[in-house]
Symmetry: C2
Subunit: 380 residues, 2 copies
């Protein structure tokens, strides 16, 4: 099967009369089930929609590649107008540099990568001048500074601010300014800006946090070149946080059941579908899919059931074994036979992509190739 | 780093005065965090203990390789006395055949593998005569028979029986006997035996199911050459089901927090540990690990928290982001600093192994190489 490393190759599929059935049959006959399948036409539309939303808000688009982890999709996002990419691991940034994308932001404290020498090696690459790294503590900055010294290239630091989600990030403007000053005053670091993932719950609070931080920075003679917000659910509020220069959205390239539930996407926007065969129907009210926690993962995302079965919308995937998805069919008028292939919209697409070495690419109802998940399993 | 493909190479580690700290330092400096680390000495003991338990019960040992997915560990289990291996996917069986293990049982209805041609290709291998496949429906048997015809080698069928867990498996002895007869009467199939995963809750019920099935088989002139039970928690009841010829245990090679909670292992028996750095301590009562759902997975296994932190036993990993583990430290007297490396016993080890392409192997407190997870991500 053709390996698609650049979506600009734009494969053409053969149209069929009944594309859904024909595609199921083709998947079953060629790659078998379960299969993690991406519809490139839906991806095209999702990539264009994200870019258009950012353009309309006059905010730069920095898609988060943790969702797709693929050079081919990265190139497609850049071609559509993205200024660069966000990553969550240094291993992801390495793959993106190899794909020719240089404006990269790693959005986590990467202490493991800093202390094992991999960060130094990346910083020493000629194409690494656009790399920016997040930090929310002096300890992380010290590790980055050491790597910067060792590599002979200062580390550009994004100070991560917690604006309501209680994840990583400093919780006060004073701490943010303190870290910015450390970065600005260390010759092995430089201060690049502020990074946050707004909760979406209290924009006034977030604005106050940002404004207070910027005021403290100004007092210290510092400016935040980049003010980066994140989150696909926050796309509907692009520009609401005054001062934002760029936005990071990952999931919107594929979307999933969580995004549909959050109102951030429609079902038709879900580009990634797991095709799975019904492999057991031991009793009338239950059945088993050949996709379990090693395919769909146990990420539930607060939803009922582990995925939506498009053909049996009243079926509930109640729990997983590693290779089995247990279906409760008691609410279903029609019920699948053993051997039937169904399409499952996963709850959380980012973790599903990370389970497979390659995605099956389809367009117009036909398989057109496979797309390597280049940074799959990047731990460090 | 040395790639260990056969544990018989038995690497020797250098002893140190403070092995835990020295190992943490070595891991941080060489591979970074998070790191999925296996202690080969604990594996040796676990492999020997499983074999001894089976020997004592006079039941053949067929370890389930879905836990380790690795040729090196497979060879170690065979060397210790295992008759063969259980697999959950055909792709796993392919890897084990490549490792020279031929007595293989695939314990699921593999319709995807049967219908895409991969099963036919495997059956046509000269080394595939020991392959056995589970089935719990006539539809699965029909797919297997087609593959057997295409390959010119009959498929040896294990009829899967549900003895209490409501997973796959026929729910009555009559159904089991019906499938056995179909297999026995089709020239492209043969009947090899019965396979089950006892619930451990009602052995009398399980015994009655088995005895009734065997009586029906005898009426039809059939015998079950293999009667295969499964489950690491069932090791304490080996031989309780009269007639059992072999047992399948997967998790016991590494063990995990679920097995400790079930009383099937002690903490010292847990061979696989995730070494993770504390990367954020934004507030006094919370902290963040660099291991999230893309490392430890969201499989909770009914336990409180997503893993046990050996250094901070009162810390609770409350929830994950993809690359972050959120710690509630409010119950901890001592609390970790940013940069500290901690050891996490995962809730469910089988899914953690499947996240990584290789495991870091240690012995006597030192890194001795890496072990490829050869069948990682085998979907079909």
């Amino acid at each position: 099967m053709q390996v698609l490393t650049d979506l600009a190759e734009r494969p053409v599929a053969k149209p069929t009369d009944d594309p859904v059935s024909a595609l199921k049959d083709a998947i079953m006959r060629t790659v078998g089930t379960p299969a993690v399948v991406v519809d490139l036409a839906v991806v095209d539309a999702n990539v264009a929609r994200l870019q258009a939303a950012c353009d309309a808000a006059n905010i730069a688009n920095r898609p988060h590649m943790k969702t797709h982890k693929s050079k081919a999709f990265a190139r497609a996002q850049i071609a559509a107008g993205a200024i660069g990419l966000a990553c969550q691991k240094l291993g992801e940034a390495e793959a993106m540099l190899d794909a020719g994308v240089t404006d990269l932001m790693v959005c986590t404290n990467i202490l493991g990568a800093a202390r094992c020498g991999r960060l130094t090696a990346v910083l020493a690459r000629p194409d690494a001048s656009g790399l920016k790294l997040a930090a929310d503590s002096a300890a992380t900055l010290a590790a980055y500074a050491q790597a910067g010294r060792d590599a002979g290239r200062p580390v550009r630091v994004m100070v991560e601010c917690d604006t309501g989600r209680s994840r990583a990030g400093v919780v006060t403007p004073t701490e943010a300014a303190t870290l910015a000053k450390i970065a600005a005053n260390d010759p092995s670091l430089s201060f690049a800006g502020l990074m946050m993932y707004p909760s979406g719950a209290d924009w006034e609070r977030d604005q106050a946090f940002l404004d207070d931080t910027l005021a403290l920075l100004a007092d210290a003679g510092l400016t935040a070149e980049i003010i980066s917000t994140g989150g696909t659910p926050n796309l509907s509020a692009l520009g609401k946080l005054k001062g934002t220069t760029e936005h990071r959205s990952g999931t919107s390239i594929f979307n999933d059941r969580m995004m549909v539930a959050a109102g951030a996407a429609s079902e038709a926007d879900c580009a990634l579908i797991v095709y799975s065969a019904v492999v057991s129907r031991a009793e009338a009210d239950r059945g088993i899919l050949d996709a379990g926690s090693k395919t769909l993962t146990s990420d539930r995302g607060g939803l009922t059931g582990h995925g939506l079965i498009l053909e049996y919308r009243d079926a509930v995937i109640t729990h997983f074994s590693e290779e089995h998805g247990q279906m409760d069919l008691s609410a279903c008028a029609d019920r699948p036979e053993v051997g039937e292939v169904v399409r499952v919209v996963p709850n959380h697409v980012c973790v599903v992509v990370n389970m497979v070495d390659q995605l099956v690419a389809v367009r117009d109802g036909a398989i057109v190739g496979v797309i390597p998940v280049d940074a799959r399993g990047a731990l460090v």
